[in-house]
Symmetry: C2
Subunit: 238 residues, 2 copies
């Protein structure tokens, strides 16, 4: 078995980079391209031209308004970002990342790439399971967007593993739980002081995104949080 790979470009700026990323996808047999709010109108003729023989990938690309929407059917989402240094998130080299996918038998992998200049926001990084780091020279550290896509696909397209035993939660299902959990915590005034709220939310998400969870795990967590809120005290019955 091999994982399916989806490439998610968040707010990409240059049509040419989108087209060259699609060509790289085609080179490695990957066809699922997802675009979150591209800068220029879509369809984009520059993207089509640069994709050459991979034009069907450009034509089949799907558009989304948010990273959460674009990844909800996936089982594991890696992001690549220079911001990985600033927020709490497990960071893997490409070979560590592919080993993780092999070892855990993760079936539907999302590879998320931020915009050319600014990269992903902290909020977006916090919604991913892990980060990928491509080691580059300190003199010319920044990779071209399509080059980053190419290197990730080159490594991830070679991954295969035996059929996994458990039924992994989709990313959307896990995010629904996190949303529910954060909402409940917010009601109880957990995210205080206000200036620490963002960091607290990020750290909380990281706890649940660090390792894969099954549907059963998510159901158990939903149940546990709901149980804590019930106005019942069973301690007297002991």
């Amino acid at each position: 078995m091999a994982p399916t790979l989806s490439v998610v470009l968040v707010r990409p700026q240059l049509g040419q980079n989108i087209g060259l990323a699609a060509r790289a996808m085609g080179n490695f047999g990957v066809s699922d391209l997802r675009l979150v709010s591209p800068r220029d109108p879509w369809p984009n003729p520059e993207a089509q031209n640069a994709s050459v023989a991979a034009k069907p990938i450009i034509e089949g690309a799907t558009l989304y308004d948010s990273l959460a929407e674009a990844t909800k059917d996936l089982s594991w989402v890696f992001c690549t970002s220079a911001r990985l240094r600033y927020i709490k998130k497990e960071v893997y080299t490409l070979s560590q990342g592919t080993n993780l996918v092999k070892t855990l038998g993760l079936p539907k992998i999302g590879l998320v790439f931020g915009p050319e200049q600014a990269g992903l926001t902290n909020e977006e990084v916090s919604l991913c399971h892990g980060g990928l780091l491509i080691k580059t020279s300190s003199t010319v550290p920044s990779l071209n967007l399509a080059h980053a896509v190419l290197l990730c696909l080159y490594e991830f397209s070679r991954v295969s593993y035996p059929t996994p035993l458990y039924d992994l939660s989709t990313h959307g299902n896990t995010l629904s739980f996190l949303c529910f959990f954060e909402e409940r915590l917010e009601k109880k005034g957990f995210f205080s002081p206000k200036e620490k709220e963002e960091k607290m939310r990020q750290n909380l998400r990281d706890i649940f995104l660090r390792r894969p969870l099954s549907y059963q795990d998510i159901n158990t967590l939903f149940g546990a949080i709901k149980a804590l809120e019930k106005n019942v005290d069973n301690s007297s019955k002991r």
Copy 2:
């Protein structure tokens, strides 16, 4: 020890591809860019723009009139070409190629890339030691030029090995021997019939380029060929 890497672009057409190749070089700490007869005038502003932080690599690029000139100081020259299927030349995957470099401790590696559309000529392929094949999908087989450079550098920049024991001939020295040998054979009418000459020359080169030769090896070969031509018969002295 790690090999030094030189990127040789033969008749590149698009300045942007040259620039993006330089950027990829910069990302992996490689700075020696050699251009054989680029299509557009040099310096090329499009190449400079696309190189971003790797502009010093573009500015330091050296120009050559032929592939033989561009590679004569190197010790081992890989080419990447779709033509590898048509001519006799050992072909390696990227991991086989890096293993070869590791195992033999090859010090000065040239990575040769043909022009965007046509690729290298058979003559050019025959002047290289081995070919590199990057496995791609049959649907979108053709890699962008800068993408091919990037993948090769990604793999080759991670190679290291202990100090090699022998003193490898430069590619120029080996090519001088081949040139001398072919010239002598031509005089003797070896390359006949005429329509087989090209193929015969290619096969002959392949025999001597398939494995690394030391300076001593080349001197021995020069001496052996010269000895064969001497008008001396020692057989009666036995």
